[in-house]
């Protein structure tokens, strides 16, 4: 029996904003097992948040043991990010220096899926993992209540002196035919309303961006950067 994973990524900015103002990020490493995927959500009020979000997501999928030594992983993220940033200096306007000093912040969700269907997930903040079974929402983690999202989630900070926040961890078992969806907060809050995940699961992946954009336009999906990375786990006899 050959097991495979098909993936699809939807990513668009909040309405009224340009594509280059999108500050979520996603990353996927699906060349071999385990398949690793991550979504991150850069905090609106940080400067350089999009760059930090990309750094964190990429570092997770590129390092198989990222979660075994989280301090080292976060340290590597911070070093990579700092190397790309111009250092605060006297020539910067006062607000740019202050923002550089504050650093960037992002919520994070990473998941690692093995060929036998066993998966683990790690999260800081309010990005969500949705496990779909038989076309319906089987499990949502770490937030299952669509009303539980706030503007103040836990976040990973790029500041070298910021403490490592608690990383939440879970594990589960996917069966052939199941799907794992990784979503940033606005999409997750939308999908956690009754029947919405199941309804979206019935559509083809390439149809879903239009559905989510329409939901954003009519206000059902909160106006925020939106990211949904879907993994479909299947087995061929």
């Amino acid at each position: 029996m050959a097991v495979t994973v098909a993936s699809h990524i939807i990513a668009f900015p909040k309405a009224g904003h340009a594509a280059d103002e999108y500050e979520d990020a996603s990353a996927l490493a699906a060349q071999g097992w385990p398949v690793r995927a991550a979504v991150t959500d850069g905090a609106t009020e940080s400067a350089f948040a999009g760059s930090w979000a990309r750094t964190v997501a990429t570092a997770y999928v590129n390092h198989a043991d990222a979660m075994a030594d989280r301090e080292a992983w976060l340290g590597a993220c911070r070093s990579a990010w700092a190397a790309r940033m111009s250092q605060p200096d006297a020539s910067l306007p006062w607000y740019a220096a202050a923002k550089a000093e504050e650093g960037a912040h992002a919520a994070f969700l990473g998941s690692s899926l093995r060929a036998d269907g066993a998966y683990t997930a790690h999260a800081v903040g309010d990005c969500c993992l949705l496990h779909l079974h038989d076309g319906a929402l089987h499990r949502a983690w770490p937030i299952a209540d669509p009303a539980a999202f706030t503007h103040h989630p836990a976040l990973l900070s790029s500041r070298p002196d910021a403490a490592m926040p608690d990383v939440q961890t879970t594990a589960g078992q996917a069966k052939p035919g199941d799907q794992l969806w990784l979503a940033t907060d606005a999409v997750a809050a939308y999908l956690l309303r009754p029947q919405r995940a199941a309804a979206l699961a019935r559509t083809r992946p390439e149809e879903r961006e239009a559905i989510l954009r329409a939901a954003q336009a009519n206000g059902e999906l909160r106006n925020d950067d939106s990211t949904l990375l879907t993994l479909s786990f299947s087995a061929d006899a």
Binding site: H17, A43, E45, W94, K99, T150, H151, S157
Partner: protein, 287 residues
């Protein structure tokens, strides 16, 4: 009213500060840690408070590409005169009083070196020198023409709403010791609050800096919570109730709020009042 319009560069909202610069502001601030002669004047506290509020607002809008114009900001001083105290920006779709926040960011009066306590990475704090922008120095002269100031505020928000009828409505923050000398400010406050965009009525919040050493009051929902002070009661009555979204934000920060909670602060730090306006996910360190 919804108060749910998204705040963005294409749909900014407006903050209009009204600053009491009358002679009575020379008196000592009762809410300070220092008492007696060591207490700072109300005018000093007002200047520090508003400089900090403006810095806070600008940093919320500062991104890698500069300061985004999520807000138009105006400052009207009232004392010897009633007049705007920051310069207008021509051709910006703003009024003569309200200017895009990026312009304010670029033109502080001066920068001052201040010492700030920051985490040292080992569980303690260390002191670091930071550049702090200053837009206003303390001023305290003549009477308190608060009614005139509220009247100018009403004209200002009306003109701004004509240009931005669908946006999140303007927020007017009046910082004062409460002693109006040119009439009953309540009716002028009602005039300010009577203007509205499609998204809601103009919000008027009051920040009362008093000589009284009565305990600080933040976001009261009943007169009974106020100190025995006629100006506190009047400013409370002038203040708008918090809209739903701000109540929710206040609740998340641990404030006890009800439908009657008003945007009124007595001898307390008012930064929370501008923090409750959500423009997106915010690290808790950004205050």
């Amino acid at each position: 009213m919804a108060y749910s319009a998204e705040i963005s560069r294409t749909a900014p909202t407006a903050f209009l500060f009204l600053l009491d610069q009358s002679a009575s502001m020379q008196d000592a601030f009762g809410g300070a840690k220092q008492k007696g002669d060591a207490a700072p004047s109300k005018a000093r506290v007002l200047a520090d408070t508003v400089n900090k509020l403006l810095q806070n607002l600008i940093l919320r809008c500062a991104k890698e590409d500069g300061v985004r114009n999520y807000f138009h900001v105006g400052v009207i001083g009232y004392g010897q005169r009633v007049q705007p105290v920051v310069r207008p920006a021509p051709d910006q779709g703003a009024t003569d009083v309200l200017i895009p926040i990026s312009h304010l960011a670029e033109q502080p009066l001066r920068m001052e070196q201040r010492t700030k306590e920051v985490p040292d990475g080992a569980g303690g704090v260390t002191k670091r020198r930071v550049q702090t922008p200053i837009w206003f120095d303390p001023q305290a002269k003549n009477g308190t023409p608060m009614c005139q100031a509220l009247d100018l505020a009403a004209q200002t928000v009306r003109d701004w709403i004509d240009l931005h009828p669908h946006n999140y409505p303007p927020i007017v923050l009046n910082v004062t010791d409460g002693e109006a000398t040119d009439g009953d400010p309540l009716q002028y406050a009602q005039q300010v609050r009577s203007f509205a965009t499609d998204d809601g009525d103009v919000l008027l919040f009051n920040i009362h800096l008093s000589e009284s050493e009565a305990p600080a009051v933040e976001l009261p929902d009943a007169m009974g919570e106020l100190p025995d002070d006629e100006y506190a009661r009047q400013l409370y009555q002038m203040s708008s109730t918090l809209p739903f979204s701000m109540r929710a934000a206040a609740e998340q920060e641990g404030y006890r709020v009800t439908l009657d909670t008003r945007g009124f602060v007595f001898n307390a730090d008012p930064v929370a009042l501008v923090r409750f306006l959500e423009i997106g996910t915010r690290p808790s360190t950004l205050r």
